[in-house]
């Protein structure tokens, strides 16, 4: 059974120029213990999906339609108190450039115990002992529990964020561009400790990234987003080896590798559309090499094909 199930989720931002359809009717399921990847360019709505799951969407944004079922209950329908009980406890998020999310005037240990004491009836001593264990779990020495964020390097701050997010042993962890802004070696070290934690804590996670290679190394299934919609979803290996949607194909074709002989890459012409005024029909159609008459008028439905879910008129 799926732990998280998103059905026809729509999040619009109501601006003076009209609604920007940041997430426009997407559906996907994440099974227990699975790592699900959401890939797309900036502005495609992938972070908004994460915000909607956590119910962090603020005006002028609003969840206008859809369901987010987590373990059977609908998060969209929960009241404020209900969602607070889940945040940090059952579902946690590590946000983009999380380093800046740490409180600079509070020690790391204090920030970990804060979340434990909020959700669980334990003594302060127990909470501090657990804070130390969390730190060593992410590879930081327990002795640094009283240190402040400025005493940590960028990679360590990011690890501290992981320690905070997993302090209450959540079942579901959202990682929104967890490695953006980190150097490759630090990125690798962080991904390794996240992978370790996932096995230890039996975590189910949603990883959001624009980096195809980070997704390739960590995810079981992946969905490709473009301009507020999912254009293709499949098992990671199948999607990378046999992409069906022209956008997935183009993205993979535009991504360089260190391995093998050097190959010529092809960029995708044009730029992603503005979400206030998306093109008619298929949203990728103005940049698509294969677009035909029907693509410019009818928005393609998502359909099953060779184990992929794909939204394209040209896929038979």
């Amino acid at each position: 059974m799926a732990l998280l199930e998103i059905e026809n989720l729509k999040v619009y931002f109501f601006t003076r120029k009209g609604p920007a359809k940041a997430v426009d009717g997407i559906s996907f399921k994440v099974a227990g213990n699975e790592t699900f990847g959401l890939i797309g360019e900036s502005g495609c709505g992938k972070t908004t999906v994460a915000m909607a799951i956590m119910r962090f969407v603020k005006p002028p944004g609003r969840i206008v339609d859809g369901r987010v079922s987590f373990d059977g209950s609908d998060l969209v329908a929960l009241n404020a108190e209900g969602i607070r009980g889940l945040r940090g406890k059952a579902i946690s998020i590590i946000r983009q450039e999380a380093q800046n999310a740490l409180n600079p005037v509070m020690s790391i240990g204090k920030q970990i115990t804060e979340i434990i004491l909020e959700h669980e009836k334990v003594s302060k001593d127990t909470a501090w002992a657990r804070a130390k264990r969390q730190l060593s779990l992410v590879g930081i020495s327990e002795q640094r529990v009283k240190d402040y964020p400025h005493e940590f390097s960028g990679g360590m701050k990011q690890r501290a964020m992981v320690a905070i997010a997993t302090a209450c042993q959540p079942r579901f962890l959202i990682l929104d561009e967890p490695t953006t802004g980190l150097d490759v070696i630090v990125q690798r070290q962080l991904l390794e400790s996240i992978n370790e934690l996932k096995t230890k804590l039996h975590l189910t996670s949603l990883l959001i990234s624009h980096d195809l290679s980070v997704i390739a190394e960590t995810c079981d299934r992946v969905a490709v987003m473009y301009a507020g919609k999912i254009v293709e979803e499949a098992q990671t290996v199948s999607l990378y080896k046999n992409p069906l949607h022209p956008y997935s194909k183009a993205l993979i074709g535009a991504f360089p590798s260190l391995k093998g002989t050097k190959r010529k890459l092809k960029s995708i012409p044009g730029a992603p559309p503005l979400l206030i005024d998306p093109p008619a029909g298929c949203r990728f159609q103005p940049r698509c090499n294969y677009a035909t008459q029907i693509c410019t008028s009818v928005d393609p439905e998502i359909r099953e094909r060779d184990g992929h879910r794909v939204a394209c008129h040209l896929v038979e």
């Binding site: 630090v186 390794e192 624009h210 980096d211 390739a216 050097k262 960029s267 730029a271």
Partner: protein, 336 residues
Amino acid sequence: MQNDDLLRIEHLKKYFPVRKGFLSSAGAGKKSDYVRAVDDISFTLKKREILGFVGESGCGKSTMSRTILRLIEPTGGRIIFKGTEVIGLSKRQFKPLRGKMQMIFQDPFGSLNPRRTVADTMRQTIRIHRLASNREEEASLIHRALEEVELKPAEQYWDKYPALLSGGQLQRVSIGRVLVLQPSFVIADEPISMLDVSVRIGILDLLLRMRDKFGISFIYITHDLVTARYICDRIAIMYLGKIVEIGPAENIVHQPQHPYTQALIAAVPDPDPTVEASQLPIKGYVPMTTAQDLQSCRFFPRCPYAENGCRAELPTMTEVGEGHFVACTKIASQTV
């Protein structure tokens, strides 16, 4: 100096003083120590060559590029551009050279004036360097540059303000602005790291075309070995202010010699989901400062192969293949 050498850098150094003590931020206190951001770097850039500098944040690659263009003054060393020593030239003497050595910045949103249209931005460059003698000439220069960076038709972009353009288009304007000057070499400092994945390759291909068509040399500064391999002829790997390895791009990628280069390559994730991630051969983090005068290999505290000898002496460059140099004491002792 060989004929096709465009730029020669010798023992370039840039030290920033670290002031300690009371009122240190106000400039008081003793200059007790230095951060050696660029420490004794030498290389040559050939005509029509793209040389990549790859390293983690804080390794000094951006400081190096700013020093080469004299945006900041070096602490020591020589910068020889087309046979002319650049350091020590007065502002007036330097100005004609400035147009020939240009830079493309990382942030296209921040490096263009939001209150100037595309044409205004380019017009400013043309006027400062007195490239045109009348309005028509000016317009045709702008027109040609815009078409060259594939902002076609040029009229459509002429009166646009930066807010109306995408990141990729803005970066093309930055490249176009540099192009009107017909530079000999351009330093591109992380030119694509803030752009969308789908447009990055387009910008890199544009740089390659500038090289092929106009013979412009590039110094490509990046933290991303993968894109460096894509456009560079040679790659230099930097660690804490020093070049640890330099050589032909394919050699660096396929036969890395320095333990740090090997670690960098092992850390790069592969876009093939069937490939198992390789083990990272090093532990720990880049040390925060390099304030002490280390007479030893900078990488030795993290190096899996380090021996006592590495602590005792400063590694020098050893040639391990054609044009492929490594600064590692252990490799040097093996090749002798």
